[in-house]
Amino acid sequence: MKYSYKVPCKKEKLRDIRSFVKEILDKHGLSEIDASTLVLAIDEVCANLIIHAHQCNAKDSIELQIIVKHNDGIIFDIIDKAEIFDIGQYEEPKLEDIIKKQRKGGLGLILVKRIMDDIEIIHDSSKNICRLTKRIDVI
C-alpha cells in the first residue's frame, strides 16, 4: 500500500503531517506506542526540513510517501527539491554538551536515528529523498 501527502513548508502543518501518519499506522495495526514513536521521527525530519532547508517558506513544499509492506515493514520517503541533510552522517552530540551549552536544538536527529532501522539519502536529478525504513510487523 502506498500513501502520499504534500504540504507547504509551514511549521503549523506539522500537526497535519502527524495526523496523516498516525491514521495510516493505525490502519495497519501498529500498537499505539510504536505508532507514536514513528510519528515522532517523521515529525522531526519534516520540522528540520521546513525550518532549516526552507526557512518556513510556505511557497515551498515537501512530500511524504509511505509504503507499507505486509510482514516486512514501512518505508517513509520524505521528498524535497532542496538539499536534504544526510542524517545518517550526523554525529550525535553528547547530551551533557547540549545541557552545558544550553542548546535547544540537536535532539531531533538523535531521536530519528534511534527510532528508525535505516536512513538513506537518495539524490535524483530533480529531487532528494530521505528514506527512513522501519522493519516491523504490519497487517
Binding site: K11, E12, L14, R15, R18, E32, I33, S36, T37, L40, D43, E44, A47, I50, I51, L95, I98, I99, K100, Q102, R103, K104, G105, G106, L107, G108, I110, L111, R114, I115
Partner: protein, 111 residues
C-alpha cells in the same frame, strides 16, 4: 496548540502543560519556563497529564534549562505523563536527567 498555566500552590508553583508541544509551539513552553525561573520561586511541579505530544523541540526546552535549575537551586519535578510522552523522554535518556514521577503526590514528595 499548547497552553501553559502556572498557579501557586503552597510552597511550590504548579505548571500545567495542556496540548501538543512541537516545533511550532515550543516557544510557549520556553517562555513559561523562563518566566518561572525569573519569578524567583525555587520549587515547581509540572503537570504533564494533559500533555498529548512532545517532540524534540519541547524536550530541548527542558534540556536547555537544566543548568539554570542547578545554578539557581531550583527543584522541578514532572509528573502525570502518559506512556507515549514518557517514552520520548526515555528514548533520549532524559528520564535520567530530570526528576519524573507518576502521580502528583509522589511528585510533591520528590520536591
Amino acid at each position: 496548540m499548547v497552553d501553559v498555566k502556572r498557579i501557586q500552590e503552597g510552597n511550590y508553583d504548579l505548571i500545567t502543560i495542556v496540548g501538543e508541544v512541537d516545533a511550532s509551539s515550543s516557544i510557549e513552553l520556553d517562555n513559561a519556563i523562563a518566566e518561572a525561573i525569573q519569578s524567583g520561586n525555587k520549587a515547581f511541579l509540572v503537570d504533564c497529564s494533559s500533555l498529548e505530544y512532545i517532540s524534540s523541540a519541547g524536550l530541548g526546552v527542558f534540556m536547555s534549562y537544566i543548568e539554570d535549575f542547578k545554578k539557581n537551586d531550583i527543584h522541578i519535578v514532572l509528573f502525570g505523563m502518559n506512556e507515549k510522552v514518557r517514552n520520548v523522554f526515555e528514548i533520549l535518556g532524559l528520564d535520567q536527567l530530570l526528576t519524573i514521577r507518576g502521580e502528583k503526590e509522589e511528585a510533591k514528595s520528590a520536591l
